[in-house]
């Protein structure tokens, strides 16, 4: 984060390096609840991105006007306003989707991602950077929902986006669209993400050690070399 100041970096940050779900563990409630299908996941992701974007921009604009003591309450009011807008629009335009997401659209108000970004980023940075940060976080969130929704829909109902993709001989594993499946899938995905992350770190560490050893081999006798290996 230190030197990466360009808007593109702010955007990319949210997608992987600080992915709200896998790295910051924010917003797990809607993640688990709505990902019974890809469609629901995407809808939830987009709705959250919309709210995140506009509330980040607004909060970043008015950050100097809000007294420090009441800032959280002020942020929440801004967020709740945009959530109300999303909710009303969805009820009018996509009644089916709105019904299947149920109370989870209004619950975007308490999605920690939005308040978290408002507090950690938008209240300290310029409008443009906040906007890109919000878009990146939103994209990362939507992506995670997409993956989770995809896995659960394929395994749980043999379908993807409503079309049957697995042959009927494969018994759909109902457990994956039930609540228990949500926890299991996210847990396993989370572990897998950790696994790759740790392997990457391990590789990088290994490279540093080898580089050190190579440079020492030139300068130092054998004994100290061994010492270097252990450290």
């Amino acid at each position: 984060m230190s030197k990466a100041n360009s808007p593109l970096n702010d955007f990319m940050n949210g997608i992987w390096k600080q992915n709200p779900i896998f790295k910051q563990v924010l917003g797990t409630c809607p993640t688990l609840a709505v990902t019974v299908s890809v469609m629901n996941g995407i809808a939830m992701g987009l709705a959250t991105t919309f709210v995140l974007f506009f509330s980040s921009v607004i909060i970043s604009m008015i950050k100097k006007l809000i007294p420090n003591q009441v800032r959280i309450a002020a942020y929440i009011v801004v967020i709740a306003t945009f959530v109300t807008i999303v909710d009303i629009v969805m009820k009018a335009q996509f009644p089916e989707l709105s019904k299947s997401l149920g109370p989870f659209i209004p619950l975007i108000v308490v999605n920690c991602i939005i308040l978290g970004r408002a507090e950690a980023f938008a209240s300290k940075n310029t409008v443009v950077r906040s906007a890109f940060d919000a878009l990146g976080m939103g994209a990362g969130f939507t992506l995670a929902l997409l993956v989770l929704g995809g896995i659960r829909e394929i395994l749980g109902s043999n379908q993807l986006l409503g079309t049957v993709i697995l042959p009927a001989t494969v018994e759909p594993m109902l457990i994956f669209i039930l609540p228990a499946g949500a926890f299991l899938t996210l847990g396993i995905l989370f572990g897998t993400a950790n696994f790759f992350e740790q392997r990457k770190k391990e590789n990088a560490r290994q490279k540093v050690i080898e580089a050190n050893r190579a440079s020492r081999q030139v300068a130092l006798p054998v004994e100290q070399q061994n010492e270097g290996e252990e450290a």
Partner: protein, 190 residues
């Protein structure tokens, strides 16, 4: 009887944490020690019951008669935020150790989806005053139950040899999945 069903349904059959996924953040965050999990559960239950009463009154005595339904989210969340502030001040005055143990998670009750979720479900299902109170009580009991069970399991997990990438959040999620499966056993009850 009706009230008992509302209570049991919220506490066990449709457990807020394990089948509605409400309040997952504190569920993962505070569930590593039994004592703090229990006090967190109690504090949340208290806020839940208060919220049930206050939001019911606001919804039925002010918003609906005045035709201001669209202000529900904004007013609910403001009420919840002030209630949490009140509880925080109360705990700080009465029990310093508890206040320190709950730490950052106390103000975070505001963004605990269980609280706003409760208010929204109440409005959606058109509960009356008594039903709302029992619903809040049931939701709180269910939340405390899930949190305490989880904390108990996690204290044991400390000693287990878990593969490194799965330590922390992933294993907690998987354990929660197994717990949710166990709670599915109650689903025919009501």
């Amino acid at each position: 009887m009706d009230l008992l069903i509302v209570f049991l349904s919220a506490a066990i059959v449709n457990n807020f944490v394990l089948s509605y996924f409400l309040g997952i953040c504190p569920f993962i965050g505070v569930s590593n020690k039994l004592t703090s999990a229990f006090s967190m559960g109690l504090a949340t239950t208290f806020v839940l019951v208060l919220t049930a009463v206050v939001t019911w009154m606001i919804n039925h005595l002010i918003l609906i008669p005045a035709g201001l339904d669209y202000l529900q989210y904004v007013s609910f969340i403001l009420v919840i935020a002030s209630l949490v502030q009140f509880v925080e001040m109360f705990i700080k005055k009465t029990s310093q150790p508890l206040y320190r143990a709950l730490g950052i998670y106390l103000p975070l009750i505001t963004t605990n989806c269980a609280i706003l979720g409760l208010a929204l479900f109440m409005a959606l299902r058109d509960y009356d005053m008594m039903q709302s109170i029992f619903f809040g009580l049931g939701a709180g009991t269910g939340f405390t139950l899930a949190l305490v069970i989880m904390a108990g399991i996690r204290e044991e997990l400390e000693l287990a040899d878990i593969p490194k990438p799965f330590r922390g959040v992933p294993i907690t999620l998987i354990t929660a999945g197994l717990l949710a499966m166990a709670f599915m056993g109650f689903s025919g009850l009501i």
